[in-house]
């Protein structure tokens, strides 16, 4: 027993030495290409699965790029980026003007790089109505305001000729926690319905006029699947695997109904405009075939990094994520940026400079 303990001690010592050696070795640009350095980041939960995948896969490009990402929520990500406790932040919403001022007050700056697209879907559970429900903005707002109370309400029926709608009550399920998903959904309802805008408004959490609240996407999905006549909103990547019915949404621009899909959400990104400002969004995108309730998410990076190796790693990472990394996003049910937007996002990386000189992506990620 005793010798076993000694053996354990000796091996862990060796392991520590090896690890420390590896960590130190990773930072320098040794011969044979840049190996990357370790980074820490924090922020949005919505893109967490794809970020985790990217950061894992990126190590096959730069072996020293150990990236620790903590999905603490967009608000926390912005706060930690401002405080300088992380190398990069992540936020689902573009930064507010006050937030940018707070960052500048600390003597820093920020570049917001869109990385991937997602959507918010209206999911429902009505017996005998597995698929095919159609909704428009005004009707959706009426349902979530509680003015439309039953499934066979004339407003719902008018959009769904040919479907048999039951007389059962509509049970609204919403998020109880604060969430970027809620912000996107309520922003869309505000854009669609003056009544919603004046009575409820848009934020990460709102005062819901009716319904029950669930914690997280899974809480809402559980609430919908258990309750006859339930309707709620979910992040698209989550809704795909939930097995719930998903409504097609009417586009304001041409009156067509579009079902949420990787492609229709990707198409919505076509109207993204640079530079990113506090009111940038892709809701009700007029791009052809676009799903109306789509959104993008951003990484927040420092245009003048204090550490050259970290800056180089971040530029390489983003260059890789915006090119090769985009191929992998659909496996996790995220939507890639349209090509034209990818190019513009890559252009943002030119603003990352060290000692006044632009940090060019390494040959490894470009090749």
């Amino acid at each position: 027993m005793r010798s076993f303990k000694r053996f354990l001690g000796a091996t862990s010592l060796v392991a520590v030495v090896v690890l420390v050696g590896a960590a130190c070795g990773g930072g320098g640009s040794a011969s044979g290409g840049f190996k990357g350095s370790s980074l820490t980041g924090a922020g949005a939960t919505f893109p967490d699965p794809i970020y985790e995948k990217w950061f894992r896969d990126f190590r096959s490009v730069e072996s020293g790029a150990k990236i620790n990402y903590q999905a603490i929520g967009s608000g926390g990500g912005v706060q930690q980026y401002t405080a300088g406790t992380v190398d990069f932040g992540a936020s689902d919403a573009p930064l507010k003007d006050e937030e940018i001022q707070a960052i500048k007050a600390k003597g820093k700056d920020v570049v917001e790089v869109p990385t991937v697209l997602g959507g918010v879907v209206i999911a429902y559970h009505v017996s005998g109505l597995d698929t095919g429900l159609k909704l428009d903005g005004a009707t959706a707002a009426g349902i979530f305001l509680g003015t439309i109370k039953t499934w066979n309400d004339p407003a719902v029926a008018a959009l769904n000729a040919g479907l048999t709608l039951p007389a059962s009550p509509i049970q609204v399920v919403h998020r109880a926690d604060e969430s970027g998903t809620t912000k996107v959904f309520t922003s869309w309802l505000s854009a669609e319905s003056p009544a919603w805008k004046s009575q409820v408004g848009a934020d990460k959490a709102v005062q819901w006029p009716v319904g029950t609240g669930g914690d997280g996407n899974d809480g809402v999905a559980a609430g919908i699947s258990q309750t006859e006549g339930a309707v709620g909103y979910l992040s698209f990547d989550f809704a795909v695997n939930s097995g719930l019915g998903v409504a097609s949404i009417k586009r304001d621009s041409d009156g067509q109904f579009v079902a949420p899909s990787v492609d229709s959400i990707s198409a919505a990104g076509g109207i993204l405009e640079f530079p990113i400002t506090s009111d940038t969004n892709i809701l009700n995108s007029t791009a052809p075939g676009a799903y109306p309730i789509s959104t993008t998410t951003y990484l927040l990076i420092n245009p003048s990094p204090a550490d050259k190796n970290k800056g180089q790693t971040l530029v390489d990472l983003l260059y890789w994520a915006l090119t090769k990394g985009q191929d992998g996003v659909t496996t996790l049910n995220y939507s890639p940026l349209p090509n034209a937007i990818q190019q513009q996002a890559l252009g943002l990386l030119d603003s990352v400079k060290f000692n006044g000189q632009t940090i060019e992506p390494s040959p490894a990620v470009k090749g």
Partner: protein, 366 residues
């Protein structure tokens, strides 16, 4: 405490003085325990200070409205925070839990102590104690995935169709009204109504809380009933009382203050329970007679909204003020229960049952 330690000291009546060394030890021990006790009080004071300072922004902005307001609107630019729906939800769910759990707990305790159960007694007692060891999130999951659908589809519609039809108290057991059938050709004229039974609601949360507090209330009640002196029981039996009359006339009056203490212990747990409640209570604002509508409790809203309450504005401060409200509500109930325990103990007369008055009146967990 102080007097007992004092009694150990040599006194004027000539008790032989203890050796110097142990006197030093006594002093050290006294100092240590006094500072521990002071630390505990300081901790509570600090907690109140931190919550007050944190909640000051919201409390000063909304004043009394914070306690009486019915809106909880965190939307930036139109913030309005009133805690009434949460206070209401917390008290109602806890009250349901107490009403359902206490009779069962007292019955169980009497069964285990007063009836001749033979071999069944120990397994049953252990089983009840085991219920207390289940983490609350497990109750929550069970409530969300198993109990809630059953309540939604079976129990609540049944209650609506039976008790819900009784004039006065029926209002407690009916959900929101909706129209099942409109007049042909006139969608605005309703000819048939239904009542919405909404899985996540105050009633479901109250029932799950009742299950959760049952073990603690039973365990304490069992202890209290166990210390009722044999003489009392034997006296009652000797006078020709039946077993039921013995329990009613000898056991229960003596154990009453202890049972009140046990109830308060359960109430404390119910008031502070977070996760399980948040999973089944529906998390919706609303105050009304119906128990079948979504509600919200103070711990549940704090747990739900604190994670991302970094937003600019008074939202975070309002949550801290809510925590202060919960602490104050708990302390007030604790004080009331202490008074109640003392009063019953005095009314019953005789010595306070061992341990009964010493039962910590309230303990907020979760």
């Amino acid at each position: 405490m102080g007097t007992r330690l004092g009694n150990l000291r040599p006194n004027a009546r000539g008790t032989p003085p203890l050796r110097r060394r142990s006197r030093l030890g006594d002093r050290l021990f006294k100092g240590l325990s006094v500072s521990m006790a002071a630390g505990l009080i300081a901790l509570l004071a600090l907690l109140l200070v931190v919550l007050s300072v944190g909640g000051y922004r919201a409390l000063s902005k909304f004043g009394l409205h914070f306690l009486t307001g019915r809106n909880w609107n965190p939307v930036f630019g139109r913030e309005d925070f009133g805690a009434l729906p949460f206070i209401f939800g917390t008290l109602v769910t806890s009250a349901i839990a107490i009403v359902l759990a206490v009779p069962v707990a007292v019955g169980l305790a009497l069964l285990l102590n007063e009836m001749q159960l033979g071999w069944l007694r120990n397994p049953l007692a252990v089983f009840v104690d085991l219920l207390a060891a289940i983490p609350s999130v497990v109750y929550g999951l069970w409530g969300l995935f198993i109990m809630k659908p059953v309540f939604d589809h079976t129990v609540e519609p049944f209650l609506t169709n039976t008790i819900g039809q009784v004039p006065a108290i029926g209002a407690l057991f009916r959900g929101a009204k909706y129209c099942v059938e409109t007049q042909v050709g006139n969608p605005r004229a309703c000819v048939k109504f239904g009542y919405n039974s909404n899985g996540g609601d105050l009633f479901t949360a109250g029932v799950i809380l009742a299950v959760m507090i049952l073990p603690i209330v039973t365990a304490v009640t069992r202890e209290v009933v166990a210390v009722v002196p044999r003489d009392l029981r034997e006296g009652a039996l000797a006078l020709g009382a039946t077993r039921y009359e013995t329990i009613r006339m000898a056991v229960l009056p003596y154990a009453k203050s202890g049972i009140v203490g046990a109830t308060m212990l359960g109430l404390g747990r119910a008031l502070g329970e977070t996760i399980a409640v948040s999973m089944v209570v529906g998390n919706g604002l609303g105050i009304g007679p119906s128990l079948f509508r979504p509600g919200y409790t103070i711990p549940a809203v704090i747990a739900s909204e604190f994670r991302e309450a970094t937003s600019v504005g008074v939202h975070r401060s309002a949550l801290l003020a809510l925590a202060l409200v919960l602490v104050v509500v708990s302390l007030v109930l604790a004080a009331l229960s202490r008074m109640r325990v003392r009063r019953t103990a005095r009314l019953v007369g005789g010595p306070t049952p061992a341990g009964a008055a010493e039962i910590p009146a309230l303990e907020v967990t979760g």
